[in-house]
Symmetry: C2
Subunit: 344 residues, 2 copies
């Protein structure tokens, strides 16, 4: 089959690899219907050291079950399924607490002998805990929105949930990528009355307004902070969703959060050390977030997707064939595309 | 009157200064009955640059109101009062939210023209918002416990509240100083079934056991982390109260917190940058805490102090006269005293 591998910064190739097969009784084999490129895939695209064997890519996909191991009970051949971006047993204490990213027996795609979703098919470990069957046809127009439940929608929602967004909290979202925009949608769904979106790309921030942003601040750095402060009587907002992962976004978050507020990070931090001294401690700011247990939110978010109340799939502005994956990375890296859907 | 000033690292003097007087209609003048030295006072005691005019010291005191300005309504001459470690108007939005340390019109002792509590008397700004009258005599044996409501008890409680300690959370407390020990007491009051106290001073950790610690770990660093992990089936605890403020304590906190858990800092950070990359982000750890709005907790904590259910004043193991304040600093710095009460 065809699968996407990265061999170093900027070097993405779609190659032939052996077809995956069911190896364990708890595995499922999923034929991929749609996968996509994630903002976090751009981090290795910028800085991955050259690798001869390459790294399998992709952690977001929906597809159709082709085969299952003897112990799989909750999905079967022919089911359309959503695969969240971590696989998990669904039964351990962390899974029961909704922290499937810390599952005692789970893991991430593209690690060990588990391969990625930017491919024609994937072997899914612990299929019962991991996959969520959805009663739709693979040709359904809902497929892009369902795919966002793999990662970006769940991640935006996770940011808002960890920050405890309610109808009483004002929110700033830093970043107009897919996660930031779906952070806006999530904050809106949780009732936030004021959502300030910080982003420079008008097409994206326009979509952000449709998702629920009440204000847009295009400036960055000190100017951006001043603009948010001006919109909030000098105070900043109760919640800041940081959906970028770079240090300037962290600093911006510190600049626009209200005393007693929360910075919720869901952009993979591209730094190790950050200022957490008096600037964070003095005003009693809470720093939270992490990789989203997307699996935990699928059942919660699914109904509004299925009945058309929300259309998170609008973050996909480009669709390419799997073989064009290198173009997809380039288009996202150049900011020509917000998020690219790959047709397997 | 006599008042304590610091003139540089290790240089504490008790000097004569003009008697404070009511300056504003919202001021109260409080004759200090008892004050004390705080673990956080030891930070400048270690590293304050030499200063010719010196810095007024002390942010914890109880006393008797001697005079009030014309607009003061809630306290009057002769009232025994507790002064929390920040002064605040009690009416702004932050005060109403219980974040008096961020009061729009308040501030901290020993800043601007507001002097400190290690003195015979203190001018208290915004007396209505700041002071809490308590129906006790100044000779009451409850005075030491009431004094802990100025800071250390409220600070330990703040750590536990910010970490959302409940009957379902296991807790590690790092630090066997007064705040750490009262963090133990607070976690116990909030129902924590398991409280592991990390500290090396047997007398202090023994008191910690009486306050509710179920386990004591004397080791520090990697050994201490391993010991806590062993006590928790390898997982660490849901909550870590970090009551020290030095980087090794932060690192220890990262080492013993369970995935999805909370590190709650109430030791004043003696660092600016700290690791908050994958180690914090990956397991979805929340970092919270800050200077305690002690004022917010006095009414909550007072009844159990008044009826003798708890005796937080046991953290005071030494009492000296105000003129011996330099000895008090030395005794605490040498770890000969846990916390020193000063008799004004």
């Amino acid at each position: 089959m065809r699968a996407t591998y990265m061999y170093g910064a900027g070097d993405v190739r779609v190659i032939d690899v052996p077809d995956p097969v069911v190896q364990h009784p708890t595995d499922a084999l999923v034929r991929v219907v749609r996968s996509c490129v994630c903002g976090s895939d751009l981090h290795p695209y910028h800085n991955m050291p050259v690798s001869e064997q390459g790294e399998s890519m992709g952690h977001e996909f929906v597809g159709v079950v082709e085969d299952v191991g003897s112990e799989v009970r909750t999905v079967g051949k022919g089911d359309f399924v959503i695969a969240p971006f971590a696989w998990s047993d669904g039964t351990c204490d962390f899974c029961r607490e909704g922290l499937q990213t810390s599952c005692r027996h789970g893991g991430f795609w593209n690690a060990g002998d588990v391969r990625g979703g930017q491919a024609e098919a994937v072997r899914v470990p612990l299929a019962d805990g991991t996959l969520v069957p959805v009663p739709v046809e693979e040709k359904s127009p809902l497929v892009p929105s369902l795919l966002t439940l793999s990662d970006v929608y769940g991640t935006g929602y996770h940011a808002a949930v960890k920050a405890r967004v309610t109808a009483d909290t004002t929110v700033t979202v830093i970043g107009d990528g897919a996660v930031g925009l779906l952070g806006v949608l999530s904050a809106r769904q949780l009732g936030a009355p004021r959502i300030i979106l910080m982003g420079r790309h008008k097409e994206r921030t326009d979509l952000g307004r449709e998702f629920g942003a009440t204000d847009v601040v295009a400036e960055r750095g000190a100017e951006g902070v001043a603009a948010v402060r001006e919109l909030t009587r000098g105070d900043g907002t109760h919640v800041v969703i940081e959906a970028v992962g770079h240090m300037p976004a962290y600093e911006q978050a510190l600049g626009v959060v209200r005393p007693g507020g929360v910075i919720s990070r869901v952009g993979l931090p591209q730094y190790n050390n950050a200022p957490v001294g008096w600037d964070l401690f003095g005003p009693n700011i809470t720093l939270t977030g992490g990789p989203a247990p997307a699996r935990a939110y699928i059942e919660t978010l699914l109904p509004a997707v299925l009945d058309g109340t929300v259309d998170p799939g609008r973050v996909f502005d480009t669709e390419l064939s799997l073989d064009a994956a290198p173009d997809a990375y380039r288009a996202m890296d150049d900011r020509r595309s917000l998020k690219v859907l790959l047709r397997a």
